[in-house]
Every structure is written in C-alpha cells, then in structure tokens.
Amino acid sequence: MSALTLYRAHGSGSGDVADGLLTMLSVAVVCLLAAGYGRGVQELWARRGRGRVVAGRRATAFAAGLVVVLAADQGPVHRLAESSYAGHMAQHMLLLLVAGPLLAAGAAGLPLTLAAPLPVRRLLARVRAAAPVRRLRRPAPYALLAAGAQTLALWLWHLPGPYVAAVDRPVLHAAEHLSLVAAAWLLWAPVLGPARHRTPPPVSLLLLVGTMLPASALGAALTFAPDPVYPARVLGADPLADQQLAGLLMWAPMDLVVLVAALAVFLGWLHRLDRERPNSLVTARPGRPAAPPATGTATEGMVR
C-alpha cells in the first residue's frame, strides 16, 4: 500500500527503488480490490437486479474507502506526514477512522468471494465452515478479536521502537499502514457491515467503547508526556508540541467518531426494539375518557 517514505536520513538509491516498487504494489492491490469488488457487484446486480443485495451506497462507500487509502499515501497528506509526527498521525487516523469504516460499509465479503476464482472460493467456503473459525465468528469472540487487533496495531506501531523502524524502512511502513487499515476494517465490519453480519447492538456498543478506551489512553499518554518520547528526527520543529498534537489527534477524533457511532447504534437499537415490541396503550388511564385511538402502536411515550 504505502508509497510513503521518501528518504529522510539516507535517501539512498535502494530506498527509492524499494519505494517505487511498493507504490506500484499498493496501487496494484487497490486496483485488484476495486476490480474484484466491481465484478462481484456487477454479477450480483445482474442476477438480482440493480441495487439489490449490495446497495448502491455500499458500493459507493467501498469505492470511497479505496480512494481514501490511496489518497492517504499520496500527495499533500503524504507530504504532511513526512514533515511531522502530527501529520503522520493524521494520516493514520485517516486510515483508521475514514478508510476502515468506509471499506467495512462496502460489505465486500460477498462480492469479492464471487469475483474470486472457483478454487479460492471453495477454499474460503471450507475455511469459513471449519469449527474453530465458526466459533471465532460468534459475536463475543469476534468482538474480542477485533478490539484486540485494533488495540494491538495501534499501540504496537506507536511505541517508539517500532515507530522509528517503520519510518526508516518502507516495507515496515507499508506493513504498518496495511495492519491499521485491516484492523479498522475488522473493527467496523460488525457495526457498519451488512445486517446479517452485525453483532448484537449491546456487543457493538461495548466493542466500540472498549476499543476507544485504550486508544484514548495512548493518546492521553502522548499528550501529557512532559518530554519527547521519540527521537527528535521523527518529530517536527518543536518536538514536544508536535508530540502533543499527535497525541491529541489520536485521542480526540477517535473519541468523537466512536461516540457518534455508539450513540447511533444505541438509538437504532431502541428503535428496533420499539418496532418489534411496540408499546401498547390500549385504553386510557382508568377514570378518564379514552385516549386517542391507539391500537397496538403507541401514540404516546415513544418515538416513531
């Protein structure tokens, strides 16, 4: 994926070559994904009708997600990321909070499977049906796995050692971005993905808030640290301020996105409960004339 990492310390030729190769590779992967998804969706729509199974907005979301992935590694964002830690953090947040959710909203599982060649499809089916995988896909283990993956990716890549290594080596850098996008995709799939793959709302709620907390903790640690934690060469002109800003960038947008998502999940849940088990108020309170005609569904007390 990553095309980043022009050279800082030693802009040697081998770096450029590796860099170019990686850029090509990442573009190729994105193209491949786009092609596969497109083909799958086309086939689905051809069989079931346009906009069925995978809604149009899902397809749009997926495309947007791919564009964001590409954009995050190129052009202005990329230059920003080169110049400071905070810029780099902004790039990571773009991948985690924009690209990941968009890709997840694309509901890519089915289209991609359809587009895959038959043997691959068989293999996938077998894997999916295997007992351990089935167990893993139950809501609670899945949530633990997704939360764990995101937390691990976030913490690991922002520890000083791994972070510096990633800045210095294009391959690691690519791995870093890949793992961030993948973790985010995994995390948001049960929240934004197709209805049949969603975890129950309470689980989603806990999953989101539970993932937010360790991320916030890391953000807070960076914001409040009295001295730079990273070597000066990966930090901007004012190292401490750069680190604080980066911490805040990790902290605030994540909290905001998760908060909004969690509340949306919650509201959706209440509404669904309400549809499934409507409030009845069959007659009015005792001793009063009948309430406005209300059969089964509520006119009172509940939001429709």
Binding site: T223, A252, L259, A262, L270, L273, V282, R285
Partner: protein, 642 residues
Amino acid sequence: MSTTTSTAPGVGRDDLARLAEHWAEPRSLRAWLTTVDHKKIGRRYLVTAAFFFVLAGLSALVMRTQLARPESGVVSPQEYNQLFTMHGTAMIFLFATPMLFGFGNFLVPLMIGSRDMAFPRLNAFGYWVFLFAGLFMWASLPFGAAPNNGWFAYAPLNQVQHNPGLHMDVYALGLLFLGISTTAGAINFIVTALKLRAPGMSLNRVPLFVWAIVATAFMVVFALPALNADNAMLFFDRRFGTHFFDPSGGGNVLLWQHLFWIFGHPDVYIIVLPALGIVSAVLPAFTRRGVVAYSLIVLSIVAIAIISFGVWVHHMFATGLPQLSYSFFSAASTVITIPSGIQIFAWLATMLLGRLVLRVPLLFVIGFVVTFVLGGVTGAMFAVTAFDQQVTDSYFVVAHFHYVLIGGAVFPMLAGIYYWLPKITGRMYHEGLGRWAFWLAFTGMHVTFFPMHLTGLFGMPRRVYTYRSEPGWDGWSLVSTVGSYLLALGLLLVLVGVVHAVRRGRPAPADPWEGDSLEWSTASPPEPYNFPVIPRVHSLHPTWDARTVESTTTGATADRVLSEGRRTLFTSELDARTERAVEMPEPSFKPLVLAGALLVFFTAMLLAAYPIAVLAVLVVAATIAAWLWPSRRPDEELGLAS
C-alpha cells in the same frame, strides 16, 4: 400496615395468605436487624442520608455564620477547615449518592415489577456499611480529627508531613469503606434491572428513572475504582512511607488530581442522573401525559454516562497542563451540555403539551428547571478554559455547584419525597406546608448562592475561613448568610411536613396521583411481596395501559403469582422473556455481622491496631464463607454422574 391485605383481584385468598406467610416479617428487634426487604432498606437509606444531610447542612450554617462578617471568630481556622471539608465530603458521599440509592432501592423493584432486588442480602449489607462508614467519618469531628483538606484533598497537602494527625487517614479509610457499599449497591441495581424486570418489559418499556439508575450504576462500577486507587495510595503514603504523591521521592502530585477527577467528574453525573430520572418519573403524573421523546432522553442518559469520563481535566484548567489538551477537554465539556439540553427541552415540551397539575412535587420540578439551567449555563461557561482560569477556585465555582447540586439534585429529591411519600409511608402530606417549604427553600437557595457568583467575580477565593473587609465582599456574604437561614427554614418545613404526614397524615390511596409506573399498582405502602401478581407489561406506561392492568386481574396466571415460597421471576436481559422463578433469600444476621467486622477492621487500621485488623479480616472471611456456603442436598437433586 395497611388494611388492603385480604383481597386482590386476580389472586385467590389462599394464594394471598401463602404470600403473606412467606414474605411476612414480624415486628421484632431481630426482624429489624435482619431484614432484607428492599423497601425497608430503601427507607433506611433515605432516613440515614437525610440525617447526614442535616449534619452537613448544619456545618454549612456554622460556616455561613462565620462568613457573615469579615474577620469574625465564630470558629477557628482549623475548625472551619474541618467543617467545610466534612460539609463537602458528607454532602457528596454520604448524602447525595446514598439518598438517590435510597430512592433506587425503594423504587426500582416496584417500578420493574419485581418482589425484591437481585441480591437482597447484599443490599442489607450495603446499607449497614453505608451507615457505619458515615458514622466512622462523622465521629472524627468531635475529636477534632475530621478530614480538613477539602473534599478533593489535593496532594501534597494530604501528606503526613504537611498534615499530621488522623484527619486524612479518616478521609482515605472512610471513603474506601464507603466505596464497598456504593459498589455493592451499583452491582445490585445493574443485575436487578437486567434480570428481574416483569415479563414483557423490554428495554424500550423501562421507566426513565430505572434507566438513569442503571446508567449511574455503570458509572459507579467504572469510576469508583479510580477514587479507591487514589485513596489506597494516599493511605500507604501516609502510613507506610511510600512516595506516590511525594515529589521528593519521585512521585507526582498531579497524579492525585487526575485520579480524583477521573472519578470526581463522573461522580457529579452519578448524582445528577438519578435526580433527573426522578424528574422524568414525576412529570407524567402532573402533566397527565408521558414524557416527550423517551428514546432521546434515554440516549442523553447514555451519552452523558459515556462523555462524562472524558472531561475530568476541566477541574485542572489552572494547573498548567499543555494548552492543547485543554482545548480537547474544553470541547468535551462543551459537548456534554447538549444531552442535558435535550432533557430540559423534552420536559418543557411535556409541560407545554400536557395539563399541569400544580402540586408540591411539580413546584419542586419547576424550581429545579429554573435553578438547574442557571447552574448549567455557568458550567458551560467554565468549559471555556480562559474564563475558567479566572474564576476557578473562587466563589463563582461554589455558586455553580450549589446551583447544580441543590437545583439539580436536592430539588428533584424533594419533589420525589413529596411524590412518593404516600407510597413510602401510606400517608398524604400537608399541601400548604409543602408550598411554604418550597417557596422558602427556593427563595433561600437563590438568595444564598446567587451572590456567590458576584463575590467570586469580585475576587473572593473559596475555602477561606475569613476575609478582610477592604475587598468589599462583606455585603454580599451577609446576604448569602441570611439566605442560608431561609433555606434552612424551608428544609426544616420539609422535615416537619414529613413528620406531620407520618403522624397525622390522611391515609393514602394506592394511587393518589394516577401515576403511570408500576409502583402505583401496589398498595400504599406496598405489601412485603410488592405484587400479588407480577404483571405482564405491554407499555411504557403500564398502569395507564388496560392490557397490563388486565394481566394482574382477570388475566393473572399461576406462573406470575408464585405463592409457593419467597419467589420472584427472572426474565431475559434484553427483551424480558420469562426464564424461571427463583427463590429469594430469607432474612439474615450475616450482612450486619459482616459490616460490623469491616467497621472493626477500618477502625483498627485507623488506630494502627494491626493485630485487631487481622482478626477482623478473619471474621470477614469466615462470615462470607458461611454466607455463601451451599446447603446440603441429596445427590439426585444435584445431578451427579455415576
């Protein structure tokens, strides 16, 4: 108790007799000490918390008397410092939270159609611990050894080298002790609300008050540990020479503040959420309709519970942390006003559409709206960091938090007291007395605390035992003092009103207000088993809903009568489908013994009598072991292989 025992629609006479027999508690000292009835425990919480309120309020009156004039000598600085610390600590920890837990204890099982809390004996234990912890802390005052470092007890003034004596040991141990009760209560509320709801009461039919209590309980579970960790470290620093908050040993004084406010900020919402829940519970009866926008209110409750964990640094805006972090916490603190705004406007809309019945509870609700909004907007002002840095730690802050605490918590509690008094005591209160109490308390409140905005802006710092007259604070301070006496008079009338109702009040009908929630379908006061038939709920307003009412009369079924033994019903967590009937525990001495052993433990720790503390721990362990010891059953009933 009341006379309605003999019959109930939908239940046969013998069923009722069996219920009465299984749930009966004789009137004896033994029964008094061993009871596990949530209604009695709830009542005790209310009375005990009110007692601590009076103590803390009287401390405030002494403080106000001292502050009436510049350089007066009513109390010494050392005494004043203990008084304001005990006032704040007791109001927050021994009055506000326990009082609301009292309401919760009495009401949650009644509102959700259950016969008791999920863990009745734990409930009794929680009460005893609360009582003992409160007495433990107050007992230090006559000895001149009460906490003296403000209710948030900043380091390093809480360290032994700056603050010798037992003062802060009482604080640390007292709050740790009390924490046991609060945690136990919170867990009990959560499990009760998850498992004991009447069949059919899916989450979208849960009364707002119960939502509020559950959200609060979750906040307690996740916020209180920060305070406990803080106090444990404090006690170790003071007693065993560790260095957590001691810069000379590598410690850090701001760690105390971070941990305290990570608890402290959620705590103010722990106090206000159930109070807002009371408002939502009272309004339907006095507007003759359900509260508008139920799901938005529930959403606000959840949003407040989540966001409140992310704003703690707004209490540390002057400590010189990175400005960037201030901009974040400023934003978060600003955002948290929005869910409160939603609730305020939902209530206003309810009043605008309903038909107002202007009885005392509604008066207090209106007083609440006026006062809470004023206190809320000053809170929103503090969220703006630059302004907060000017007024923090001044009387402006004192004004803010009394507006939100008295307006946002005490007024709703008073509304609740008048509203549920018939249910709790079986007696009606005196309306005229209630109105007088309201107007005195309302006027007194504003006369006391409004001027504090001004003295704060005029540069008066808080927590000063006296002041000189040159800065020009004396006039307004005197006004505050006068107001505080008015307020006290109003509260005295509340007390008189309650006593009058208990002694002389008219007997209350089961449903004097035509309220909408299930507690009004029980007798006043409720029978020990609450509901002869556990209802099947079809609506958010069960007592206004014919199908729900029918489910306890003509539609009563045996699986909801459960008269064989002390039983109630378990339902599934989310959609409240019937799961099974469960046996509830009998009265027991063990909760009291356990709490007593803990009291011995904490007292021994305070006085450094460690061998006794060890003994107490052994008693604690033995009591718990006996408490949970499984009763012996035949093998086939246990289900043993081979």
